[in-house]
């Protein structure tokens, strides 16, 4: 194992330009991946915020007794999907309308607005199907007039999120593949430069895994360094954007570590593919 590490480190010393080049290419592909990751991260965050505002509003028929209203509140609160139920009186409804819509500034009679039950759903239960089911269940109370929950809006939100997730995964896989190919070919150059050495190693009885290990370490180190570099680039980009455009979230420690480890994994995969191919060829 000591020999493997020494050989791997020697590889950097033997071909410093090639090593620097491959680390930079890895860094750039991971950086592109990271930038997209940041965009996805921030879209997700924004969507979560928007999604938190998803609510079902059930309008109560005029003249319903406060007993039946309280009973209904207790009932709805017991739905497994429901996080909270608030009773909004006509006065509160007018207040809110004034705040949100200028047209209501001149209206002073609260009775023109119906009272409503505002229902918030638990996180993870805000998809269109669940929201629809909850709305339908509430419609079964005969003192409930109408239930609104912005169907179109909820559905659109969901579609955006799904598209963003799929696009993120596809782009991520593409970038990872590109990075693997790049690492693979730089390692391949290193392998070809040392083909003689490898054939001599085999001749003196080295096992394939012994021959492979320095290259795998080399790939992992390059991936790791590339990953760190990419993280630094991404941080700088995020800082610059935060300074001049708008404040965006950065990866937390866990995601950062995961990203750098991902770089190492890409490095190992790239070199494993190259070495495997070479060992099969000779």
């Amino acid at each position: 194992m000591r020999l493997a590490w020494r050989e791997a480190l020697l590889a950097f010393k033997r071909a410093p330009m090639l090593s620097a080049l491959s680390i930079t290419t890895i860094a750039f592909s991971l950086f592109a991946f990271g930038l997209f990751g940041l965009v996805a991260l921030n879209i997700r965050k924004a969507l979560v915020e928007v999604e938190e505002r998803v609510e079902v509003r059930a309008f109560i028929v005029d003249g319903t007794t406060s007993e039946s209203t309280s009973a209904a509140i207790a009932d709805v609160r017991a739905f497994p999907e429901v996080a909270s139920v608030t009773l909004v009186t006509p006065e509160q409804a007018l207040d809110r309308a004034r705040r949100e819509l200028g047209e209501f500034n001149d209206v002073f009679d609260p009775s023109i607005l119906p009272a409503s039950l505002d229902v918030r759903l638990k996180g993870g239960m805000r998809d269109p199907a669940t929201v629809h089911a909850v709305a339908e269940r509430m419609k079964t109370y005969d003192f409930i007039d109408d239930v609104r929950y912005g169907e179109e809006w909820v559905e659109k939100l969901h579609r955006i999120r799904n598209v963003a997730t799929i696009a993120g995964i596809l782009l991520g896989l593409t970038f990872a593949t590109v990075a693997i190919v790049i690492i693979g070919s730089t390692i391949r150059m290193a392998i070809l430069a040392r083909a003689r050495e490898i054939s001599i190693m085999r001749l003196v009885g080295a096992t394939d895994s012994f021959i492979r290990s320095p290259f795998l370490i080399e790939g992992a180190l390059k991936g790791l360094l590339g990953g760190l570099l990419a993280l630094a680039f991404a941080w700088i980009a995020n800082y610059v954007i935060g300074h001049f455009v708008f404040r965006a979230d950065f990866f937390d420690i866990r995601l950062s570590v995961l990203g750098v480890l991902g770089g190492a994994l890409i490095g190992v995969l790239g070199s494993a593919l190259s070495v495997g191919r070479h060992l099969r060829e000779v």
């Binding site: 033997r14 003689r196 085999r202 001749l203 009885g205 096992t207 394939d208 012994f210």
Partner: protein, 232 residues
Amino acid sequence: MIRFTRVTKEFPRTGLALKEVSFHLARGEFTFLTGPSGAGKSTILKLIYLEEQPTAGEVKIAGASSVTIRNKDVPRVRRKMGVVFQDFRLLEDRTVEENIAFALEVTGVGHTTIQLKVARLLQLVGLSSKGPSLPRELSGGEQQRVAIARALANDPVLIVADEPTGNLDERATRGIFQLLKDINASGTTVLMATHDLELVRSTQYRTIELNHGQIVFDSRADVTPPDAGASV
């Protein structure tokens, strides 16, 4: 130690390199392999150090058989033999010591053992003072001694040499040959392919001569296995 049973080797473009070759080398024997260029000498050696597989027939080396051997067992068998080439095949960017140590590191020998062993091997091949030199700083004969020291590193039971003196002048040739004789005298089986008929005639060692991929002469045909008798 080595047994070839009706071994045929065919290469994709060049055709038959060996035709039903059978012979047996006993443990501790010194044998020359001779014959004109293209006769198949190197091919026989490659079959022995498992670089090639026979197209038909069976090669047995130190208990392993080409018919049943699995890829992962190849390194273990190779550690039982040392291989020497005409072009030395040393690593140019490493010192003499490192070149020899390399063969030991590959098999996972400890650091202290390696140092002791390298010193002993250098002494054996008469290069004790050349440890820190690079291969290009040595003469051809000295480089071949380093290659032989490397071949001996794992205490092989067999040395396979493909024209080890092919690039050397007469003096160096005699030195290398003497070294191989000494190695053989200590019990190691040696198989040496050579063009140097003068060298072959100057000794009483067994000689197998190949031509067009077949054995045309064996100075000790009596030790070839009985099933090879028909083809001789």
